[in-house]
C-alpha cells in the first residue's frame, strides 16, 4: 500500500495508468451508451487540449484558433462519409443524383474536383493529418520567421478562425454552409449510428488519445522538449546558442494542429456531422480553457480538464442556458488567477505532498530499511529542518538509532 501510494505520487506513468483505468473501465462501466457517446465527443476535444499542452504549456505559444485544425480534420472525414452516403441510388430524387444533397440544393450539377479524392478512405485519413499540418506550417512559417509571437500571434490565429468560418459558411454549395456536413451514415458500409459502432468508436478514440499522449510525452523527453521550455523562458538565449527558433515553433504548432485534426475526425465519426460551429473563435477559446483548467503543463491534466469543463457545460447549459458563457468566463479567469497550473497544479502542490507526508507518518520500518548512512545527532537535526525530510518526532528516534551504530562508521 505504501509502495503504491509512493508510486502514485512520484511517477508520471501512474497518472497515465489511472487515466487509462478511468477512460477504459470506469466510464464505460458506469454510463449508458448515450452518455458514453457524449464522453467520447468530449474526448475528441481532449486531443486539442493535449496539443495545447505542447504548444502553449511547453512552447509558450498561445493559439486561439485550434478549432480551425479540429474542423479541417473533421471535414476531411465528413467529406468521405458524405460521399459514401450520397450514392446515386439513395440520392435519386435529386436533380443531380450522386452528389451530396447540399450541393444539389445549391444548384451544383457536378462534384467539385477537390471533392473527388475524398471518395477514398486513405485520402480522408491522410487528409485529416496532413491538411491541418500543412495549414499550420504555412501560418507558422509566415508568423514565426517574422518573429510574430505572444499576443499578436494569438490575435492572428483568432482572425484565421474567423476567416475560415466565414469561408465555410459563405461557400455553401461546396461546404454545406452553416449547417455543415450532416446525415453521415456509414464508413465502408459499416453503420456508425448503431450502439455497437458507438462503443467501438469510443474505444478507438480512447486508444488514439493515449497514443497521442505517449507521443507527446516522448517528444517532451527529447532535447526538443527541453528546447521548447528553454525558448519559452529565454528565447534570445536559445537563438544565440545557434538554434533557429522559428523552426521549433513551427514544429510544435504543426504537432498540435495534427492532433486537432485527429480529434476532429473522431468527432465526426462519433457525432455524425461536422459544422462551422466547431471551427470558429468561441470553440477555439473553449478548447484553450480545457487545457488551462486541466493544467497547461500536464498532458493527463488536459484530459481531465476537458472532461470536467464539458460535464459542467452539459449540466449548466441544460439547467441555466443563458448563464453558461458567464460561468465559463468566470472559470477561466478564476483558474488563471488562482491556479495558473490548473488541476494538475493542485495535484502537484497539495495532493502529492500530502501523499508523501502520509507515507512518512507510517510506523518506523524494519531496521535494515532505515537509511544506511550513520547519522550523528547534528546530522539528524539538520535533516529534520529540511522541508520534506521527516517530521520532528522522528529526529529523536534517529538519534537513538544512531547510538546503536558502530562508531567506526560514523
Amino acid at each position: 500500500m505504501d509502495k503504491f501510494r509512493r508510486w502514485i505520487a512520484s511517477s508520471d506513468m501512474a497518472s497515465i495508468v489511472v487515466l487509462a483505468i478511468v477512460v477504459f473501465a470506469v466510464l464505460p462501466a458506469t454510463t449508458d451508451i448515450f452518455r458514453l457517446n457524449l464522453i467520447g465527443k468530449y474526448l475528441t476535444y481532449a486531443f486539442v487540449a493535449v496539443g495545447l499542452v505542447m504548444l502553449w504549456g511547453y512552447g509558450g505559444i498561445l493559439s486561439l484558433g485550434q478549432g480551425v485544425f479540429f474542423g479541417l480534420g473533421g471535414y476531411c472525414m465528413a467529406m468521405f462519409l458524405k460521399l459514401e452516403a450520397s450514392d446515386p441510388v439513395s440520392t435519386k430524387i435529386q436533380s443531380t443524383p450522386g452528389i451530396p444533397d447540399f450541393m444539389d440544393w445549391n444548384q451544383l450539377t457536378a462534384l467539385p474536383f477537390w471533392w473527388e479524392p475524398f471518395r477514398h478512405l486513405p485520402v480522408a485519413l491522410i487528409g485529416m493529418l496532413v491538411v491541418p499540418m500543412v495549414l499550420a506550417a504555412v501560418i507558422g512559417f509566415a508568423m514565426f520567421k517574422r518573429r510574430v509571437g505572444g499576443v499578436y500571434f494569438a490575435i492572428i490565429t483568432q482572425a484565421v478562425a474567423m476567416i475560415i468560418t466565414v469561408l465555410i459558411i459563405g461557400q455553401q454549395g461546396y461546404t454545406g454552409g452553416v449547417n455543415g456536413i450532416t446525415d453521415l451514415k456509414t464508413m465502408l458500409g459499416w453503420d456508425i449510428r448503431t450502439d455497437s459502432a458507438k462503443y467501438i468508436l469510443y474505444f478507438a478514440n480512447a486508444i488514439l488519445l493515449f497514443v497521442a499522449i505517449f507521443a507527446c510525452r516522448a517528444v517532451q523527453r527529447t532535447k526538443l522538449g527541453t528546447l521548447l521550455l528553454a525558448m519559452r523562458d529565454k528565447e534570445d538565449r536559445v537563438r544565440f546558442s545557434g538554434y533557429d527558433v522559428a523552426n521549433f515553433k513551427v514544429f510544435v504548432f504543426c504537432l498540435a494542429a495534427t492532433l486537432c485534426g485527429v480529434g476532429g475526425a473522431m468527432f465526426t465519426l462519433q457525432v455524425g456531422f461536422m459544422s462551422p460551429s466547431f471551427v470558429g473563435i468561441v470553440p477555439s477559446i473553449e478548447m484553450v480553457i480545457f487545457a488551462a483548467v486541466g493544467g497547461r503543463m500536464s498532458l493527463v491534466g488536459a484530459v481531465y480538464g476537458t472532461l470536467l469543463v464539458n460535464f459542467g457545460k452539459t449540466y449548466f447549459s441544460e439547467s441555466f442556458p443563458e448563464m453558461w458563457l458567464f460561468l465559463m468566463a468566470a472559470l477561466f479567469i478564476g483558474v488563471v488567477m488562482a491556479f495558473p497550473n490548473g488541476l494538475a497544479g493542485l495535484w502537484e502542490s497539495y495532493v502529492k505532498p500530502w501523499l508523501l507526508r502520509e507515507r512518512q507518518a507510517v510506523p518506523v520500518p524494519a531496521p535494515e530499511k532505515t537509511p544506511a548512512v550513520a547519522e550523528d545527532p547534528s546530522e539528524a537535526e539538520a535533516a529534520s529542518t529540511r522541508p520534506v525530510a521527516r517530521s520532528p518526532e522522528h529526529a529523536p528516534a534517529s538519534k537513538n538509532r544512531s547510538d546503536g551504530v558502530d562508531p567506526a562508521v560514523a
Binding site: V219, T222, T226, D233, K234, R237, R239, S241, D244
Partner: protein
C-alpha cells in the same frame, strides 16, 4: 586581404536609429587570442556594437568580417554556428531547468528540429558538461535548478553555456556586474583561463577589473572610438579622462 590575420575586422560600421547614429563609421580589429575590453560612458554604443556583431541589430552600413567571412547578412543562429558566442548583460539562463540541462541544451549538436528529436545525451556530451562545469566551478550544482543559483553563479553558468559551444570569439557584456569581490577575482581567473585558445571582447566598467584582464582597451564615445591601446596609455589619455574617467 589585408585584414586576414584578424579574427574580427569591423570596418566603417554604422547603425542609425531614426537618424541617431548609435555606431558611427567605426573600425575595430581583434587579434587571435586577444582579450579586448571595451569601456566608455553610458550610451556610447558598447552594447549596440555587440548586438551588431551577433546579429541582434542589423547594420545600416559597413562590414563585419569574422575569419574573413561577412557576418552582416547572416541570421543570428548562423553567426553563432560560425563561432561567435555572446553573453547578455543580465544573466540569461533557463531558470526552470537544471544546471546540467542548461549546459546540455547548449551543446552544439542536434540543432535542427529533427536533430533535436534524435539527440541523445551520450558519454561525450556528459564528459564535456563535466569539463565545463569544472571550469566554471559548478560541478556540485549540476542537478540544481538554475533559478536557485546565486547571481554570480548564474553569470558563470551563462559563460559555461557559451563554452559548451567552444566559440572562437566570445563576447561578454558586463560579466561581473553585481558580483562580490571574491566572485570578481574568480571571474578574472576564469576569463584568463578560457582566453587561452580564443579571442574575447568584454564590456566592463570596473577599472580594477579591466586592468587585471585586458590585453588592449578600446574606449568608445558617442558611437565612435575615442582611444585604443594598452590600459596605461588609455588611462593617461586626456580625451579619455575628459569624457569618461573624470579628473
Amino acid at each position: 586581404m589585408s585584414n586576414s590575420d584578424y579574427v574580427l575586422a569591423i570596418e566603417d560600421l554604422t547603425v542609425s536609429f531614426d537618424g541617431f547614429k548609435a555606431i558611427d563609421t567605426l573600425n575595430l580589429y581583434v587579434d587571435k587570442g586577444e582579450l579586448r575590453v571595451i569601456i566608455g560612458p553610458n550610451g556610447a554604443g558598447k552594447t549596440t556594437l555587440l548586438d551588431l556583431i551577433c546579429g541582434k541589430t542589423r547594420a545600416s552600413a559597413g562590414s563585419i568580417k569574422f575569419k574573413n567571412a561577412e557576418m552582416t547578412k547572416l541570421a543570428e543562429h548562423e553567426i553563432v554556428r560560425s563561432g561567435i558566442g555572446r553573453k547578455f548583460q543580465t544573466p540569461s539562463i533557463y531558470e526552470n531547468l537544471t544546471v546540467f540541462k542548461n549546459l546540455e541544451v547548449s551543446f552544439p549538436r542536434g540543432r535542427g528540429v529533427f536533430g533535436a528529436l534524435k539527440f541523445r545525451c551520450t558519454d561525450d556530451v556528459k564528459e564535456r558538461i563535466a569539463e565545463v562545469a569544472g571550469e566554471i566551478g559548478l560541478e556540485e550544482q549540476l542537478s540544481m535548478e538554475a533559478g536557485l543559483l546565486s547571481h554570480g553563479q548564474k553569470q558563470w553558468l551563462e559563460i559555461g553555456m557559451l563554452l559548451m559551444q567552444d566559440p572562437e570569439l566570445l563576447m561578454l557584456d558586463e560579466p561581473i556586474a553585481g558580483m562580490s569581490v571574491r566572485e570578481r577575482e574568480l571571474t578574472a581567473e576564469l576569463l584568463d583561463r578560457i582566453c587561452r585558445n580564443r579571442s574575447m571582447i568584454v564590456i566592463e566598467h570596473d577599472m580594477d577589473f579591466v586592468k587585471k584582464i585586458a590585453h588592449k582597451v578600446t574606449v568608445m564615445h558617442q558611437g565612435k572610438i575615442l582611444a585604443e591601446g594598452p590600459m596605461e596609455r588609455v588611462q593617461s589619455d586626456p580625451k579619455v579622462i575628459d569624457v569618461y574617467l573624470g579628473h
